[in-house]
Symmetry: C2
Subunit: 113 residues, 2 copies
């Protein structure tokens, strides 16, 4: 995957002044992109929106009727959000309650600002 070293620019007239090398961001970029990818679906974004606005734990049985997808599909989206560290869940008897973990969202928000 090495880049071909075409950086010779022989004649003169460089196209622009050199850009700072963003190596400090490599690790952080992977984490931030993971979070952004998790938000990069309309259903998951709305799920986060509902969970955030409710500001408490929300039962899955209340989330499923809000979207035009099957229950397994919604469960899949919730798992994606949990794998990205954006939400967590808690079981109480038959029902499962989801809630937002604001940390990862805050980190992405900080980068955006």
């Amino acid at each position: 995957m090495e880049l071909t070293p075409k950086t010779k620019r022989p004649k003169g007239e460089p196209c622009c002044e050199p850009v700072v090398y963003p190596d400090v961001e490599r690790e952080q970029a992977v984490r931030l992109a993971m979070v952004a990818k998790a938000i990069g679906d309309p259903i998951r974004l709305q799920l986060l929106d509902v969970l955030r606005k409710h500001a408490g734990k929300v039962c899955v049985c209340e989330l499923v009727p809000l979207f035009d997808v099957s229950q397994p599909t919604l469960s899949h989206h919730l798992k994606k959000l949990r794998d990205a560290g954006l939400v967590d869940s808690e079981r109480q008897g038959l029902w499962a309650y989801y809630y937002v973990l604001p940390e990862a969202l805050a980190e992405l928000g900080a980068w955006l600002a």
Copy 2:
């Protein structure tokens, strides 16, 4: 794609109070998710980071050596960013200069905050 109406909840003991229906957000969620998906790749996120920090137009020939991908791949990423409305480009002779359009980023940032 209709959801099976399993919302009968026959016995009693509702799992939680009903959640507000987020229909106002449907259209906006699609747009925001599109933006988030565009940021949801480490290379594109770093591209945006470099372009933002430079605060001016940056030549592609300066961007290519920063990443361990081929030039066509970087061109593909830049196209994705442009299609999402996050950047725009401008040709000057042989070179192409990219710059950030801060609007879409700001909208996502506003939603996060």
